[in-house]
């Protein structure tokens, strides 16, 4: 495979991924905390109240990042699913599976905060608006992925089936969004979602961006941590995983494990064609 020359593919070997994640996550936690504090400070103490909505608009600083993360994580999950289906890289399945719960939680949070923002702004917690409805459907797509992955006794098969579902869902998300929007606009006229003011003050935008970075980095950290646990439990019989669990993985063991994994891959690839 020509792909082997791409340096990034080094991390498709579980031990290499584990070590990378081990190194990255402390930094990610730190960066997430930093941006969270900065975002909350700017959001609550610098950004002025909105001239129409008063202080309730501050919910935007968590609502919008959560909604963005929900959609972004779904697409990322589908992308990892596609990588798993096409190249059979097991770490891609681990990543997709690690993304799903965080994505579902982010989608749930965007619905929750959206409801609480809608109550003072439009006078109702819920309308069957295009965005709300398609976000709700997105939540169910996440739940379906998680349920299908968990329902299979064979992890490999379950992973492939769930990956296929994620891809089909990703193709459907825009169709669902546009059909719901079209349906809504035909029946209810102008969307109430566009009720926020004309333009945002720079400090509001700054708070929004800071919080978005915080959410993004938090998601990365928690996904990597979950993927680490998953890797360890999948490789529980291997020497490197046991050493890693004790916190004393030597370079020598790691390199041996990587070489062994590559050999196994080569065997399963040539065996898989027959």
């Amino acid at each position: 495979m020509t792909a082997r020359s791409i340096p990034w593919l080094k991390f498709t070997a579980p031990p290499n991924f584990y070590v990378l994640a081990e190194r990255l996550t402390p930094w990610l936690w730190g960066v997430a905390a930093l941006f969270l504090v900065a975002g909350l400070y700017v959001g609550f103490f610098v950004a002025p109240p909105d001239y129409q909505q008063g202080n309730s608009y501050r919910i935007m600083f968590i609502h919008v990042p959560a909604a963005w993360m929900g959609m972004f994580l779904y697409l990322l999950m589908a992308l990892y699913g596609a990588i798993f289906l096409i190249w059979r890289i097991k770490m891609a399945d681990v990543m997709a599976r690690a993304i799903a719960p965080t994505g579902a939680l982010m989608t749930f949070l965007s619905l929750w905060t959206g409801a609480l923002w809608g109550a003072p702004t439009w006078g109702t917690y819920w309308v069957w608006d295009a965005r709300l409805t398609s976000t709700l459907i997105l939540l169910f797509l996440f739940l379906g992925y998680i349920a299908l992955h968990a329902a299979s006794d064979d992890r490999e098969k379950g992973g492939r089936a769930a990956s296929l579902l994620a891809i089909i869902g990703a193709v459907n998300v825009p169709i669902i969004y546009f059909s719901v929007e079209w349906w809504y606009n035909l029946h209810q006229g102008v969307s109430v979602m566009r009720a926020d003011g004309p333009s945002m003050a720079p400090s509001m935008l700054a708070a929004l961006l800071l919080m978005t970075v915080a959410f993004w980095v938090y998601s990365a950290a928690i996904v990597l941590r979950r993927a680490q646990s998953e890797t360890l439990s999948r490789e529980a019989r291997k020497e490197w995983a046991q050493q890693a669990a004790c916190g004393r993985l030597t370079r020598d063991t790691r390199e041996r494990a990587v070489a062994q994994a590559q050999q196994e891959n080569a065997v399963s690839e040539s065996g898989g064609q027959a």
Binding site: F44, F45, P48, P49, G54, N55, S56, R58, I59, I62, H63, A66, P101, T102, L105, F108, L109, W112, T113, L116, W117, A119, P120, Y218, I222, R225, R226, Q228, S229, L232, S233, A236, R237, E239, A241, Q242, Q243, A244, A245, C246
Partner: protein, 62 residues
């Protein structure tokens, strides 16, 4: 911008909405973090036990 702590907490009359949102986000992220951490600990403990057993037997599991 805020005159007092009470003024800050009142959020201009929108306190239940604003704090309900931020509180839920904080709670969900905290619970997620705790769950992931406890799972990590559990996996590590299982593997450490296995590691001890395999070094005692002088072999790598079965």
């Amino acid at each position: 911008m805020w005159d007092s702590v009470g003024d800050f907490l009142a959020m201009g009359g929108h306190a239940p909405y604003v704090w309900g949102s931020f509180g839920m986000v904080a709670a969900v992220l905290l619970v997620e973090w705790l769950l992931v951490r406890s799972r990590r600990r559990r996996v590590q403990i299982v593997l450490q036990r296995q590691s001890r057993r395999s070094t005692a037997n002088g072999s790598e599991g079965e």
